[in-house]
């Protein structure tokens, strides 16, 4: 077979459709129609990401309100009823309407481009998945005005994002708050499962000529792992929502403790979904790091086979750790010991990944562009998040830490410090590909530094109220516990992060109209998506690419020292 990546056909540029966007687009209505009926993976990816960014702002606003309420002990900025709705909606939104859609959005956009395909395996399923997820979001937020809404605080769910039974049963949650929550999650789950099937089929069936599984970039590898996790994890969630609705409307007694049901059953179901879900969210973040860190260190990823093995290993191990959320629920000591060990084992593959990133940087020539700044901050924060994770896996210590602000700080370290930071890195890295324009670097630096300062003020300090006995999900606290000052620092940090995100929003809009022209390959990168124009045409590649190594563009740029010679 050929040892040269990408056929270098003379005159290929002439084949590219260069009609200016304004002329192609048609009237306003036609354009809107085009976006609604589209089955193009890139447009659906953009829809997913924009939809998630809108909800990021909404859930961020909820977080700011939570932090205002907790600024003073016995504050009455919002009522307890409202506060409980705020943190429930904040959690549910961030996981189901921000995290999953934005990661699926990037997956949609990038996976076909990176494996040299022209679209996803099932374009119509793709569109269906997006629209049903969008419907789930609208349904969940309709709860604020639906049901008995518009009077008082509406029907928004107020049972915390893990919605422990039997609080969700009719006896304790009359009205429709829980129904909105359950039905919205079922709908969003259907969308997630559709997308997961699609990504798996795409990765395994649509790779271009020459791209064996072991020549595939790491991003599609991690997305395939994530998608398998979604298939395994989201199904129990959907099942337990169905059981809950049966309890509420058809007289079932799965979780109805007053009729002999089990509260622990719900906890098991939810966390069998809930813990793999963390890895569903964090593996794509790893995927972004796997692409961005090598390019800005100017080195190939260190230990590619180990990285693949570690990612798939995380996928498997993460299915056996769920009950570490339940160390205080009254398991036997052997049960506690088992889940302590299985949880600790996750740190082996994640450790391998961390060290491989470190080794990738080692000996490189690091360029500190905004995507790399976010990635470096991610590395630090990921190490800390991993270590607090080890602390939480120590089941006896977990009896103290569980459900305290220490846990809140830990999982925000993972969700914000690792995942959101890598999402920001990915936005700065791939925005030029998506829009054809660079994001403003100066605003990017402002965004980064404010975000880092705000993040550490908020989430470093947040560990300490937990160690001092402050439980989570409380709308107010006593002034004599020594938590006041700590909470005030946490809140101030939160406000700073809010400003940072607004800068990003401004940058996204501003650069779309005024940004510097990006060209096809602004970062001098090596994977296939950078070989086509920015934004890519609807058909992605003029000619089907053929690859001979993991870094086809490196081979093209360095014919004297191609990767393909070593593989």
């Amino acid at each position: 077979m050929g040892t040269e990546s990408l056929p270098n056909i003379p005159g290929i540029e002439a084949g590219i459709d260069r009609t200016p966007a304004e002329k192609r687009a048609g009237t306003y209505l036609e354009r809107v129609h085009e976006w609604i009926v589209t089955v193009d993976h890139k447009k659906l990816g953009i829809l997913y990401i924009s939809y998630a960014l809108v909800f990021l702002l909404v859930a961020g606003a909820e977080a700011i309100m939570i932090r205002i309420q907790l600024f003073f002990p016995h504050n009455d900025f919002v009522s307890p009823y409202t506060f409980n709705r705020l943190f429930t909606m904040h959690g549910t939104t961030m996981v189901f309407l921000v995290g999953m859609p934005i990661l699926f959005g990037f997956g949609n956009y990038l996976v076909p481009l990176m494996i040299g395909a022209r679209d996803m395996a099932f374009p119509r399923l793709n569109a269906f998945s997006f629209w049903i997820s969008a419907f789930a979001g609208l349904l969940l937020y309709y709860s604020f005005i639906g049901g008995v809404g518009l009077s008082g605080t509406g029907s928004a769910p107020d049972v915390a994002w893990f919605a422990y039974a039997p609080l969700t049963e009719k006896a304790f949650s009359p009205g429709h708050t829980v129904d909105y929550w359950a039905v919205a999650l079922v709908a969003s789950g259907i969308g997630s499962i559709g997308t997961a099937i699609n990504i798996i089929a795409t990765v395994f069936c649509m790779r271009c000529k020459g791209m064996t599984l072991f020549r595939m970039p790491l991003l599609p590898w991690l997305y395939a792992t994530t998608s398998f996790l979604v298939l395994v994890a989201v199904s129990p969630l959907t099942a337990c929502q169905a059981m809950l609705l049966i309890d509420r409307y058809l007289g079932g007694h799965f979780f109805d403790t007053q009729a002999g049901g089990s509260a622990i059953l719900w906890a098991h179901f939810f966390w069998i979904f809930g813990h793999p879900e963390v890895y569903v969210l964090v593996l794509p973040a790893f995927a972004f790091a796997n692409e961005i860190i090598p390019v800005f260190s100017r080195k190939a990823i260190f230990g590619y086979p180990a990285m693949v093995a570690a990612s798939v290993g995380i996928g498997f191990i993460s299915l056996s750790v769920w009950a570490h959320h339940m160390f205080t629920i009254g398991m036997t000591s052997f049960g506690n010991a088992f889940f302590t060990l299985s949880t600790m084992l996750v740190s082996i593959p994640t450790g391998i990944k961390t060290f491989n990133w470190l080794a990738t940087i080692w000996g490189g020539k690091i360029r500190f562009a905004t995507p790399m700044l976010f990635s470096i901050a991610f590395l630090f924060q990921w190490v800390i998040a991993g270590l607090t994770g080890i602390m939480l896996s120590i089941s006896p210590w977990n009896w103290q830490l569980h459900n305290s602000y220490f846990v809140v700080a830990h999982f925000h370290y993972v969700l914000v410090g690792a995942i959101v930071f890598m999402i920001f890195a990915a936005i700065y890295y791939w925005y030029p590909k998506v829009t054809g324009r660079m994001l403003d670097e100066r605003l990017g630096k402002w965004h980064f530094w404010l975000m880092v300062v705000g993040f550490h003020m908020t989430f470093d300090v947040m560990h300490f109220p937990g160690l001092l006995g402050m439980p989570r999900q409380i709308y107010t606290y006593e002034s004599d516990r020594g938590w006041t000052l700590l909470n005030q620092i946490v809140s101030l940090g939160g406000f700073i992060q809010g400003i940072a995100v607004l800068i990003l929003v401004y940058n996204l809009v501003h650069s779309y109209f005024r940004g510097r022209d990006a060209g096809p390959d602004p970062w001098d990168a090596w994977t296939l998506e950078w070989s086509t124009s920015s934004p890519p045409p609807a058909y992605n590649f003029v000619v089907d690419p053929v690859v001979a190594s993991r870094r086809p563009l490196w081979d093209l740029k360095h014919p004297e020292d191609p990767d393909s010679a070593f593989e």
Binding site: I264, A306, A337, I376, V452
Partner: protein, 388 residues
Amino acid sequence: MKLRAIIDRGWILLGMQLFCCACAWGSPSTSMFQPRSTPAHELKDLSVFVLIICGLIFAGVSGLLVYAIVRFRARKGDTTEPPQVFGSMQIELSWTIIPILIIVVLFLTTSRVLFDVQDAPKPPTALDVIVVGHQFWWEFRYPQYNVVTANELHVPVSSKDAPRPTYMKLTSADVIHSFWVPQLAGKTDLLPNRVNEMWIDPQDPGVYLGQCAQFCGTEHAKMLLRVYVDTPEQFKQWIANQQRIQPELNLQAASAESSPNPGNAGIVQAAMNRTPSNSPPTRSNVAEVSGLEPQEISPRAGQYVFEHQACISCHTVAGTVATGRYGPDLTHLMTRETLASGAALNNQEQLLKWVGDPNQIKPGSLMPAMHLSDRQNQQITAYLMTLK
């Protein structure tokens, strides 16, 4: 560089914060690093060990990272590519095996503490307490003494020479709650349809604070918890007092004064005897009309109102007709320092406010505002003040 400096400064500040918090708020405290009971001690020692290991790992990894970022930054004008390295089996093996060894150490240490604390055999001298979680308060039952109380748990001090640990069986009447007093032990959940167990052996007398640690509904935040560790004598006295029942304050006499034969006729007569009022009937004066209420503000009158309103469907006052089980046992209400599960101090002013409308103190509390008249509220408060 800058990032590192900022993070470093942050950590130093945080260390100072923690130090201040640990020192300035001595007692009562909710810090898990000031243990006063064996389980909490063992957990703290384990946590310090784990903290040290994690601290060393963090120092090592972040040190390498900082070094790499500074050492391998791109120099100005250098456009060449660095040498491409694709990996090394030996290095991969080393950072697989070393973490495995660390995990073996951590796991074995953890298991020892885990089995020590969770499976500790119960000595015959142990005190039994049954803890029942309610939305949003705690019920404590002492089966060995036939005592029931609420929100403020009293346990005896336990010393090496005279061990008297407290073994608790925990369950819930409605949704999941969690019993957490950081200075005494880790938390244990209270689940409906299930009994969990935990134990404490506090070594110093005093008050220990905690609160519900599992979101249980609207007022989860104000489901506070106080544990009083008494000396053996104090505890004996406390138990003896709790076992006392409350007298009926000559209830029949109170009604007999206005009507010797309380029946329909009596009620009608009482209603007719009432001074006609110009104000339209409100809920409170309807309540007054329906009963034969003594007008004076006294404990005796208060008991009459208490026992003729819905109060007794939920509350118990041992020795009287009040035998409700849904709300806290009020038999010795005034021996408790706080009201509404720690949401307010237990004094006349707060009691009156609470009886009038619990939502003023604890919005979302399951005790409804009874819409009684001001006088009735004062009468009930006067009665409650006698429940010592």
